[in-house]
């Protein structure tokens, strides 16, 4: 996804949310958004690679 495409996604979502401040730093927001996509890769790795195969039973002492 290009930077410009991310900016358009951000603007579209903000419009949907009625967040219409014109002075937002869209480039910075887009960079932040791109960084968070990187975090998703880390989540993928955690979920796919974890050796922990026991999804916790309900245990109030380990939420």
């Amino acid at each position: 996804m290009t930077h410009e495409e991310i900016v358009e996604i951000v603007k579209s979502k903000l419009k949907t949310d009625s967040i219409l401040e014109p002075g937002f730093e869209f480039d910075i927001i887009a960079q932040d958004f791109a960084g968070r996509i990187g975090l998703d890769l880390s989540l993928n790795s955690l979920i796919n690679d974890s050796a922990i195969d026991d999804q916790p039973q309900f245990d109030p002492s380990w939420i």
Binding site: D17, D32, R36, L39, D40, S42, D49, W62, I63
Partner: protein
């Protein structure tokens, strides 16, 4: 101001060796003299404080002794509602309107006789690690940490023995470590957050920042209310025979050399006290920040949506970017982060069970206090934003929900404090306090106080 422990001050008040009014007059003078530099307090109402101290003294004269906190001043992070004070959250979004009711924790402290020293400086919306304009009392050119920075400063510089903070990714333990005091993040849900402005409701915790582990246990007794648990009960039982897992790989490394040395010395000291310390690895923890930052923006963005829509100019750009990220990033990330959260909690539980551990031990933070104008730390070849550095060692236990305490364990070559983090099983705050107390009372670190400020 050199303060006795809460227990000793309490005894003196009870035995009429000193009055709450005398303590408060000295506190007011101290704050008036020094807080223009330290900025620990964002709201400090001398008149209200004095009135409450006089009331505490009168109640004592009338035979109405409330308990161990009777007449003891406690600082309150400025995201927690206290009747008579505004709640500003370090943000221009909030007005100076005085609150007319207390948060649950304030009610608990008030029931036990505490009086409120003032509202302590919070990083904007409890979302950051610097807490401007507060300054680190060990060197005022450095940050005190955050987001509960003012609480750390107020305790470290000796205004008060105890303050409350909140901790979503480390905001109690970060200022505790950077200011050289004790900070406990209790088990998720153990301490009520009712009446507290949230940052991220599923990760927010409230807890004490104190001058000693014993003070911390006494404040916990009050915060938890009528639980029947006495958090001081095991303080003096020592740690001989306990087993600790030492976590020093990712995400706890890389760390500054001085921090690494202090941490290794602390582990050796725990061995000297009779504990068995074994090195363990929990690979899942390396992904902690993906989980933490997959949850906070969406929860914070949802909570502050109205402000984003109607008053975005009152939010600083960096915080606004985070909140907007919470509106823009896919909800699937939030759900996957919560899946990851369960895996991390399970991995920690497995580590405790497989190794028969009483606690895991880590450096509280990989670095000491940053300069006020510093954006990044450099660890060998890695450059990292200071907020990422600070949160990567504390957030694992926000994600898992288990208790974690930071106690002082040394100083770097600049004379800035270093912290040791001890995390125990959920609801084993008593164990965390016992271990921390054994360490703290057999070393001199918590006896050293800042000379400046």
């Amino acid at each position: 101001m050199i303060l006795d422990s809460i227990k000793e001050t309490s005894r003196k008040i009870h035995d009429r060796e000193i009055s709450a009014t005398e303590i408060v007059v000295e506190l007011i003078n101290d704050v008036n003299n020094r807080d223009h530099t330290l900025n620990a307090f964002t709201s400090f109402n001398s008149e209200l404080l004095l009135d409450n101290a006089k009331l505490a003294d009168k109640q004592l004269s009338d035979g109405k002794y409330s308990g161990l906190l009777h007449g003891i001043p406690v600082g309150i992070k400025d995201i927690i509602n206290v009747a008579g004070y505004p709640t500003r959250c370090g943000s221009d979004l909030y007005s100076n309107q005085v609150q007319n009711s207390d948060a649950v924790v304030i009610n608990n402290l008030r029931t036990d006789g505490a009086i409120f020293a003032g509202k302590t400086t919070s990083h904007e919306l409890a979302c950051g690690v610097t807490s401007a304009p507060a300054s680190n009392p060990w060197n005022t050119n450095y940050v005190p940490g955050g987001s509960s920075g003012g609480s750390g400063v107020a305790v470290a510089c000796g205004y008060i023995r105890a303050a409350l903070g909140s901790d979503t990714g480390g905001s109690i333990r970060i200022p505790a470590s950077l200011c050289g005091v004790v900070g406990l993040k209790p088990t998720y849900g153990l301490v009520s957050t009712s009446g507290v402005e949230p940052l991220s409701v599923s990760l927010d915790h409230l807890g004490p920042i104190t001058a000693s582990v014993e003070d911390c246990a006494l404040i916990m007794n009050s915060l938890v209310g009528q639980s029947g648990v006495d958090y001081t009960s095991e303080l003096n039982q020592g740690i001989a025979g306990m087993r600790f897992g030492v976590l020093a790989g990712k995400p706890f490394s890389p760390m500054q050399p001085d921090v690494q040395q202090a941490f290794e010395n602390a582990v050796d000291h725990l061995r000297d006290l009779g504990a068995t310390c074994i090195n363990i690895e929990i690979p899942e923890l390396e992904h902690t920040l993906a989980v933490e930052f997959g949850i906070i923006p969406l929860e914070a963005g949802a909570y502050h949506l109205n402000s984003l829509q109607n008053k975005p100019g009152l939010i600083s750009p960096s915080i606004r970017t985070l909140l907007i990220a919470g509106r823009v990033i896919p909800e699937s990330i939030y759900h996957r982060a919560n899946t990851g959260r369960k895996l991390i909690a399970s991995a920690l539980r497995r580590a405790f069970e497989d190794n028969n551990l009483n606690a895991v031990i880590t450096p509280s933070l990989p670095a000491t206090a940053a300069k006020k104008d510093q954006d990044e730390f450099t660890f060998d070849t890695l450059s990292e934003h200071i907020s990422v550095s600070y949160v990567r060692t504390t957030a694992p236990f926000n994600v898992s929900g288990q208790p974690a305490i930071s106690v002082p364990c040394g100083f770097d070559s600049m004379g800035l404090p270093i912290g040791l983090q001890i995390a125990t099983r959920p609801f084993d705050e008593t164990g965390a306090l016992r271990i921390a107390h054994a360490y703290a009372t057999s070393t001199d670190w918590q006896l050293v106080t800042p000379k400046i400020g």
